[in-house]
């Protein structure tokens, strides 16, 4: 874990993320009995978006999304270079805030409501993400990602509660059903496209790429639970992603009360139980 891995993340993550997104499209199509688009379809989409005109409703709305893009890359790079997990999470929040503010700035009813819901989503997943850091610190005595990865035993055995809380918020973070409240890849027309409604062309492409980075980064946090063996970790993380896609296709969107309530209650109960477990064990 060093600057090199951080740099590798910057280069490789969009490829991996785009590929994951392609697998998502393909798997979704198969679950619906369709053939589905080519595996590389997300890359085609983004390439196309770069060739389109950049329309905006407000002059400066794109700047927020550009900073979201940059901050997301920074977050991931910080994580993969073995930095402080809490700082990584704060940086993630900063990126998320820029994303939401972009939606606010665009000032259309759809982007506005998307931004509101994005903020709600942030409120919903923040405790669980922070608790992951808390749990890892309790076991490994360090917030440094590098130290956590070097921990010789599987963290999942010590932190099942935190993992449960984290799994619940994965779908929120990926903006997948049942928690695709702020924006969605599927045709939920009442929101139009939620927070990204007013963004087009190059900016939309950047948002899409930023989401790919996010995929890899968030899965990276999931990987930490299984990091004692790299191969098992990678396989489990991949299955986590598949599981989220399957749930995405099987579930309907829930109301925000369910999302925030569910995420908080699970984080609270599972977190408390896990902390108790760790304290009793010592």
């Amino acid at each position: 874990m060093s600057l090199i891995t951080g740099f590798l993340f910057v280069v490789i993550a969009p490829l991996v993320g785009g590929l994951l997104s392609g697998i998502d499209r393909k798997l979704t199509a198969r679950m619906q009995g369709r053939i589905g688009p080519p595996l590389l379809q997300p890359f085609y989409d983004v390439e196309k978006l770069f060739q389109k005109e950049n329309l905006v409703a407000r002059h400066t709305q794109n700047l927020y999304m550009e900073f979201f893009f940059v901050m997301t890359i920074f977050t991931g790079a910080l994580f993969f270079s073995g930095g402080d997990l809490l700082l990584v999470i704060f940086s993630l929040t900063l990126a998320g805030v820029f994303f939401a503010l972009g939606g606010y700035k665009a000032s259309s009813p759809y982007s506005f409501i998307g931004a509101q819901r994005e903020t709600l989503q942030m409120m919903a997943y923040e405790p669980a993400v922070l608790l992951v850091a808390v749990g890892m610190y309790m076991v490994t005595k360090s917030f440094q990602v590098a130290d956590i990865i070097a921990y010789p035993k599987p963290l999942i055995l010590d932190l099942p509660g935190f993992f449960l809380a984290f799994f619940f918020i994965l779908a929120i973070k990926f903006r997948k059903s049942p928690f695709d409240l702020s924006t969605s890849h599927h045709a939920h027309q009442e929101l139009v496209k939620g927070i990204t409604t007013e963004f087009s062309g190059r900016t939309l492409a950047l948002i899409e790429i930023a989401h790919w980075y996010e995929y890899v980064f968030v899965l990276g946090i999931g990987y930490l639970f299984f990091a004692w063996n790299m191969w098992i970790g990678l396989v489990v993380t991949f299955f986590l992603f598949e599981l989220i896609i399957i749930i995405d296709n099987a579930a309907a969107r829930v109301r925000w009360q369910w999302m925030v309530g569910g995420a908080w209650i699970i984080a609270l109960i599972a977190g408390m139980g896990n902390i108790l477990y760790l304290m009793l064990r010592h």
């Binding site: 005109e53 950049n54 329309l55 905006v56 409703a57 407000r58 002059h59 400066t60 794109n62 700047l63 550009e66 900073f67 940059v70 901050m71 920074f74 910080l78 930095g83 402080d84 809490l86 700082l87 704060f90 940086s91 929040t93 900063l94 805030v97 939401a100 503010l101 939606g103 606010y104 700035k105 000032s107 259309s108 009813p109 759809y110 982007s111 506005f112 931004a115 509101q116 903020t119 709600l120 942030m122 409120m123 919903a124 923040e126 405790p127 922070l130 608790l131 808390v134 610190y137 309790m138 917030f143 139009v192 409604t197 007013e198 009360q257 984080a267 609270l268 902390i275 760790l278 304290m279």
Partner: protein
């Protein structure tokens, strides 16, 4: 030299106050305030030049006339308050005044006759920080108040123009605050403490109408109760150990001083509006905005957390400390939740102040070196950013005629500079890499080494703060109809204060590791002999983040980017002002309306407050029992 500086800081504002009281000509006080504020800023900056070398410097400061003056002033204040309370038939306040005056008398002329302090004043790195906050932010707010009160008189013609008195009280308050920060003699500290209570009472009631007076008495009630506890604490301390000095009390064994410390912490919690006493601070928002900024967020309420933090080494590892920490985290949690459902900007600020003070009290209750380090950092960042936010809201209220957050949409178009400063203030409250977040990070680390369960609650409170601050910034950015620029109405002195505080917020963030190393570190090291570690890598990371955020405004300069402006998407029904109006299903032209979520049903103010007060009363009872048992 040091004695002169400290006494200058205490006595000089007093002179300004006296001048303002004597010369009540409306033209005279503005230059007076500017001069006074300028001198105070310079003098408080001189505190930095004193080489403390990481030690407490004791100053005997034996002034023969001090004792009688203090006693006479106490009598005068008590008589004055008693008169007002009786006039209003407020039995609680009058009995509290009588009780504390009686107790003081009994002590002075009875058992405490021979009470003597070796050192009356002191200076350590923590009081330097407090002095700087009072001097710098207090003076800036005073400067701001000159322009603000001018507008205030214009807006409220029904209220008689008593501005000289207003500024007199403000400077009297500043003097008392310096007194609180530098007093080693606990009786002096108590005296200054009571003066801040009285100033707060007078300033909340400044408007003189029924709600103001009612809330002023509400504030007075809790603060007098706290004051009484403070007094009992000191007297008990003297009777059981024979000392009335802060430094000596801190050196005594924990078991001996625990009860007085619990009593004084109780006083600190009333002053800092912790649950169950929080309602007074919310009520205090009826006061003119500079008062809210100065007394009820940046300085006076910090006196409460200051004294509790001072006694943190005593609380460390005790059950009493744990209960104090619980009250702190409860206040933080409830305050943050309630903020979500508030539409009034000042109420949001009030509740978030209560919440952040709760966080500091939490640190004090935990009492480990990391927690104290985090607590002091919180005091600094909160004072600056919250002061800035209050002042921004004040300006906005006078310009657009409302302080509801819903009415602030498009502020970025109407008042670009003020709204940017407001955004800096808000970012300073919750966003990485600004100050408060660094502090929260430190709190989290401190809690994990103390009791991870507390950390569990902290993360929920902090995610609630994220929600309400983001939606506030969002509201400033939303442009839901064409707006005109209104900023020219804001006076120069207000802009000066706002600008300086904005720059301070950003600078503090940029130089936070320097500030932490040179100002907080020595204090923590002096008390605990341990050093707070901030790994160099993290400081660098934070620097990079700050640089990136700082670059953000510059991206607005690049106006040559290739974008084409079209209408916002309104399902194709755009009409008239095409991005803001649409054809409704009945055919008429409708204005678009964008309203924030406030989730009143899920975060109801009254219910959460009730719950918080109930739990906090239980905790207070527990605290009393623990304190009582401890002294047996």
């Amino acid at each position: 030299m040091l004695f002169q500086l400290l006494s200058f800081l205490i006595i000089f504002p007093l002179c300004i106050a006296a001048l303002a009281f004597i010369n009540r000509k409306a033209s005279a006080f503005a230059p007076l305030v500017y001069t006074g504020a300028g001198m105070l800023i310079l003098a408080s900056l001189m505190l930095l030049s004193i080489p403390l070398g990481g030690k407490t410097v004791m100053i005997p400061a034996h002034i023969t006339w001090a004792e009688p003056v203090i006693l006479i002033s106490e009598i005068a204040i008590s008589a004055f308050l008693l008169f007002l309370a009786l006039k209003r038939k407020d039995i609680v306040v009058s009995s509290l005044v009588v009780a504390s005056a009686g107790l003081l008398f009994w002590f002075y002329f009875g058992p405490g006759h021979a009470a003597h302090a070796e050192n009356n004043l002191f200076l350590d790195p923590f009081s330097v920080i407090m002095g700087l906050i009072v001097g710098m932010i207090g003076s800036l707010i005073a400067v701001y108040a000159v322009g603000y009160m001018k507008d205030f008189c214009k807006h409220h013609r029904e209220i008689p123009d008593r501005r000289p008195v207003f500024f007199g009280i403000i400077f009297l308050f500043l003097s008392a605050m310096f007194g609180v920060c530098f007093s080693n003699n606990l009786f002096w500290l108590f005296f200054f403490w009571e003066i801040t209570t009285v100033c707060s009472f007078l300033l909340i009631g400044y408007k003189g109408d029924e709600p103001s007076v009612k809330n002023a008495f509400g504030a007075l009630r809790w603060n007098m109760l706290g004051g009484l506890a403070f007094l009992v604490g000191i007297i008990y301390l003297y009777m059981s150990t024979g000392t009335v000095e802060l430094d000596k009390a801190l050196q005594l064994p924990k078991a001996v001083v625990l009860l007085p410390v619990v009593l004084i912490s109780f006083a600190g919690m009333t002053k800092s509006a912790q649950l169950p006493f929080s309602s007074w601070l919310v009520g205090a928002m009826v006061a003119p905005t500079p008062v809210s900024a100065l007394l009820h967020s940046s300085t006076m309420v910090k006196a409460g957390v200051y004294i509790v933090l001072k006694f943190a080494p005593v609380l460390e590892g005790t059950l009493a400390g744990f209960v104090v920490a619980l009250i702190g985290i409860l206040t933080f949690l409830m305050g943050s939740f309630i903020c979500i459902s508030q539409t009034d900007a000042k109420k949001v600020l009030a509740y978030s102040t209560i919440a952040n003070l709760g966080l500091i009290i939490l640190c004090a209750g935990v009492g480990t070196y990391e927690a104290v380090w985090a607590g002091i950092l919180l005091i600094i960042f909160h004072a600056i950013a919250k002061g800035l936010l209050f002042l921004c809201v004040g300006v906005v209220e006078h310009t657009i005629g409302s302080r509801r957050i819903e009415d602030m949409s498009g502020l970025i178009m109407r008042m670009p500079r003020v709204s940017v400063m407001m955004q800096v203030g808000i970012a300073g409250m919750f966003l990485a890499p600004f100050g408060m977040l660094i502090s929260k990070w430190a709190v989290l680390k401190a809690l994990l080494d103390y009791n991870p369960f507390l950390a569990l609650f902290l993360v929920f409170g902090s995610s609630a703060t994220l929600f309400f601050w983001v939606k506030w910034i969002g509201k400033l950015l939303v442009i839901d109809r064409p707006y005109q620029k209104l900023e020219a109405k804001v006076s120069k002195d207000q802009m000066f204060a706002l600008g300086t505080l904005t720059v301070l917020t950003i600078l503090m963030c940029g130089f936070f590791s320097h500030v932490a190393n040179t100002m907080i570190e020595p204090y923590v090291f002096m008390i605990y002999g341990k050093q707070m570690e901030m790994s160099a890598g993290n400081v660098t990371t934070m620097g990079i983040m700050l640089t990136m955020v700082a670059l953000f405004p510059f991206s607005f300069l690049d106006s040559s980017r290739k974008v084409k402006i079209t209408d916002a998407y309104l399902a194709g029904a755009n009409t008239g002002e095409r991005s803001h109006q649409f054809t409704s299903s009945l055919g008429g032209v409708k204005d678009m309306a964008l309203k924030n979520y406030y989730l009143e049903d899920h975060f109801p103010e009254a219910r959460l407050m009730g719950l918080g007060v109930g739990l906090a009363i239980l905790l207070c009872v527990a605290l009393a029992v623990i304190g009582g048992v401890g002294c047996l």
